[in-house]
Every structure is written in C-alpha cells, then in structure tokens.
C-alpha cells in the first residue's frame, strides 16, 4: 500500500468508527443521560456536605466540577470497548484492513462527544449552583474543552487494559485517577488564577500541551492495549 492509501485508510477508519459509535450512542441515549445524571447528583452532594456558605462554595466550585467530571468520565469509560469486546466486534475491527489505531481514535472521539462534550453543556448550570460568575464559567469551559479529551484519551488505554476482567470499575479508577492529576491541577488552576486576577495563558498552554501529547501517544497505546487484551 502506498503512503497515500494508508493515509486515506486511516481517515476512513477514524470516520467510520466515530460515526458507528455515535449512532450506537444515539440509539441508547439513556446511557449518555445516566452519566450526566451521575454528574449532577455528585456535584449536588458537595454543597450538602460542606454547607451552603456561598464563599466556600465559590472557592471549591471549579475543583468540585472538575473532580465530578473526571468521575463521570470514569463511569462511562468502562463501556468504551466492553460491548464490542464481548460480542467479538473488536476482534473483527483488529482484523480489518483499516489501521486499528485510527479505529481506536474514532472510538475515543465518539466517547468524548458523548461524555466530555455533554458535561461541558451542563457545566454553566452547575456553575450557578456554586455561585461562579459568567466569565469564571467561561474559563472553566475553556479548561474542560482542553482537558476532557485528555481524560477520554488516557482513559482509552486503561479501559482497553482492563477489558473482560472482574471488578473492572474499581481497578479502572485506581489505574486512571492518579494519571488524571495533572489535568485536574491545571484545569482548576486556570479558574483559580482567573478569579485571583492573574493570567491564565500558562495553564491553558500546559493543558493544550497535554492534549497534544495525549493525542499523539494515547491512541497507539490504546490500540496496543486492545491487542494485549485480545490475543
């Protein structure tokens, strides 16, 4: 195959997997909504736990929303490859002529569009719960836009590694959450810096850098992880 053909094959694989997973998600919209419901409930617990003092809530708002977004992402990651693994589709994808890394990339993209993106849409609403003002919510959305794709990308690796194991949920959390620390720190850090009247370019640049590194490395690592799980 020529380089051009491989290139075309990669795009075809990515678009095919993306459209397929999005169509599947649309047909079982409840799964997407359940994750959003979890996000809302988890966020709502914090004011009940720490008390309704608006100053405290404003202080912890960005952190709480980020942590809950991570947990919601974690919840939905278990099903990223699971159904296709169980019925053998994943193995057929591995055998297909389309580059497997591209297919994995498409699946991860679909995962972000069905979790990270809806979470962002809900964020202004939960931002109000914590008394964040409009511009703070804007900064928070900017960090979520850069950070949540990283969650899906790194998550794809670990979701593939834990395929078909017992007690996947807790294991996935133990493997993933430590790796999410940098995204959390810079995501919340940008909002905190903005509230303190400081520049946020640094944090956003680092989040962007993390996104680029994850975009380059994670699909390949996830594809390798699926191969490990299948053979």
């Amino acid at each position: 195959m020529s380089a051009d053909a491989v290139h075309a094959g990669a795009w075809a694989g990515l678009v095919w997997a993306l459209r397929r997973d999005l169509r599947l998600a649309a047909r079982s919209a409840a799964e997407v909504l359940v994750v959003l419901g979890f996000f809302f409930v988890a966020v709502t617990l914090f004011p009940l736990g720490v008390g309704p003092d608006p100053r405290v809530l404003r202080l912890i708002g960005a952190g709480v929303i980020w942590v809950c977004a991570m947990l919601a992402c974690l919840m939905s990651l278990a099903r990223l490859f699971a159904a296709d693994f169980a019925d053998g589709t994943l193995e057929q994808m591995l055998l297909s002529e389309m580059p497997f890394g591209a297919i994995v990339c498409g699946k991860i993209g679909a995962h972000w569009l069905t979790t990270g993106w809806p979470l962002m849409l809900c964020t202004p609403l939960v931002g109000v719960q914590f008394g964040l003002d409009v511009t703070e919510v804007g900064v928070l959305l900017l960090t979520l836009a850069l950070g949540t794709p990283v969650l899906s990308l790194i998550g794809g690796i670990m979701a593939a590694l834990t395929l078909g194991l017992r007690g996947t949920g807790a294991l996935l959390a133990l493997l993933l959450l430590p790796l999410y620390v940098p995204v959390l720190i810079f995501g919340v850090g940008a909002v905190d810096a903005y509230s303190a009247g400081l520049g946020i370019e640094g944090q956003l640049s680092i989040l962007g850098a993390e996104l680029i590194v994850a975009l380059v490395g994670a699909p390949l690592a996830a594809a390798a992880a699926v191969r490990i799980a299948i053979d």
């Binding site: 690796i157 430590p178 940098p182 390798a224 490990i228 799980a229």
Partner: protein
C-alpha cells in the same frame, strides 16, 4: 552478547538468583548495621532538629529507592515488550512490591519526622503529594497484575501500565510542584535545611547502599518464587528441586 540471552532464560537464571540472593541480603544486613551505627551513634545530634533528624537514615534511602525502582520496572517493561523475554517481565513483577514498600516507608517515616519538625504528620507539600501518587501508581500496577489470570496478558498489560506511568511521573511531579506553590508559599521546605555534615551524609549513603542491596536481594528471591509458580511441571524445575518436591504435582 550470547551470555545475556543465556541468562534471559528462567531455567538458567533460577539457580543464579538462588546463589546471588543471600549474598545481596548479607551485604544489605552488613551495610544497614554500619549505616545505623554511623547514623544513630557516631553522628552528632542536629542543633536545630535534635535527634528527630535521624529518621533521614531510613527516610531518604527509602525515597530514593521508591523512584528508582519504578524506573527500573519501566526499563524491564520496555525490555519485555521489545525482546519478549519472559524473565524481564518476571523481574518487573518481582520489583513492584519492594518499590511499593519503600514508597510507603518513605511516606511513613516522613510523617513521623514531620510531626516533631513541622508540627504535623501531613502537609500537601509537592514532594509528599507526588510520593503519595507514586504509591497509587504502584498499587494500580500490582492490582492490574493480580486481576488478570493469564500470565502472559498480565505481564504485557502491567508492562504497558509501567511505561505509561513512568512517562507521567515527571508530569505529575511538575504539576504538583506548581500546584503547591500556588496554594501555599514555601512555609516548609526540606531544601532550606542547613547543609549536611559529612558524617551524616556518609551514614545516609551507606544506608542507601544497604537499601539497594536489599532491593536486589528481595527481587531475586521473589523472582525465584515467580519462576517456580510459572514453570510448575517443567522438567528442569523438577530436576532442580529433586523428586520429592511437590512442585510438579500442583499442576
């Protein structure tokens, strides 16, 4: 180069590990004895921290080993995934519990030292926090390894986790450091402590060497167990352990 491949075979390495392990353990005991003598008896009391500082003779070597062992694990992971040498994966698995133990020891002794020195067992200092996350990485590695029944898949999955982890360790360390400086100023800093007297330094280095020897000895001992587990029923193992060994009959 041929000798490398020869010792990459578990059957060849098993007796070698058996011979080497007690030597490393003996060296560890000897060095630890010497290091503790220097640290607890020969070295003077610190004029600022009193005798509480003496915990560094355990704490600093443990912290060194916690990071070093994770890197060595990642190197074995790369070797395993590149050359498909099973022994590399076994060594990687054998090192993990020792690494986690040293990480825990570093955190524990740090807390004990922090109480009299900083007035609290725990602060969200950059080093402490990244050490804690390192402990989580060890736990994740071992948990994944334990969750997968097929040994080959477990090795490969754990190797990938070790490599992903080692790429992330510097990122995590850097971000935690940045986070810490934002949230609180350098109210406590270990780097600000006065320059160390040479006898204290030498005590610490001897203890560091003892920790190396112990880690190597423990890993060799553990890799022997892993080899026995994996090679149950193999002819060479039955010959090696003698006919009355139960090993062959377990499978």
């Amino acid at each position: 180069m041929a000798w490398i491949y020869r010792y990459a075979s578990p059957a060849t390495f098993y007796p070698v590990a058996g011979v080497l392990a007690p030597w490393f353990m003996a060296a560890a005991a000897l060095l630890a004895g010497l290091g503790l003598y220097i640290g607890l008896i020969a070295a003077p009391t610190d004029f600022q921290q009193g005798d509480a500082y003496r915990i560094i003779y355990v704490h600093v070597p443990a912290a060194w080993m916690s990071m070093l062992i994770y890197i060595v694990m990642a190197i074995y992971a790369v070797l395993y995934l590149t050359f498909n040498t099973r022994l590399s994966a076994m060594m990687m698995n054998a090192l993990a519990p020792t690494g986690a133990m040293f990480t825990f020891l570093a955190l524990w002794t740090g807390a004990l030292w922090g109480r009299p020195t900083w007035g609290t067992y725990w602060v969200w200092d950059a080093r402490l926090t990244s050490e804690l996350i390192l402990l989580f990485l060890y736990f994740g590695f071992m948990a994944l390894n334990a969750a997968i029944e097929d040994a080959r898949r477990a090795d490969k999955a754990a190797a990938l986790v070790a490599i992903v982890g080692v790429v992330n360790v510097p990122i995590i360390y850097f971000s935690v450091q940045w986070w810490n400086t934002l949230h609180q100023g350098a109210s406590v800093s270990m780097t600000a402590s006065p320059k160390m007297a040479s006898i204290m330094l030498s005590g610490m280095l001897v203890m560091g060497l003892a920790a190396w020897m112990y880690a190597i000895g423990a890993a060799l001992k553990r890799v022997q167990t892993i080899i026995v587990e994996r090679e149950v029923g193999a002819d060479w193992l039955r010959r090696h352990l003698g006919d009355n060994a139960q090993v062959g009959r377990v499978a």
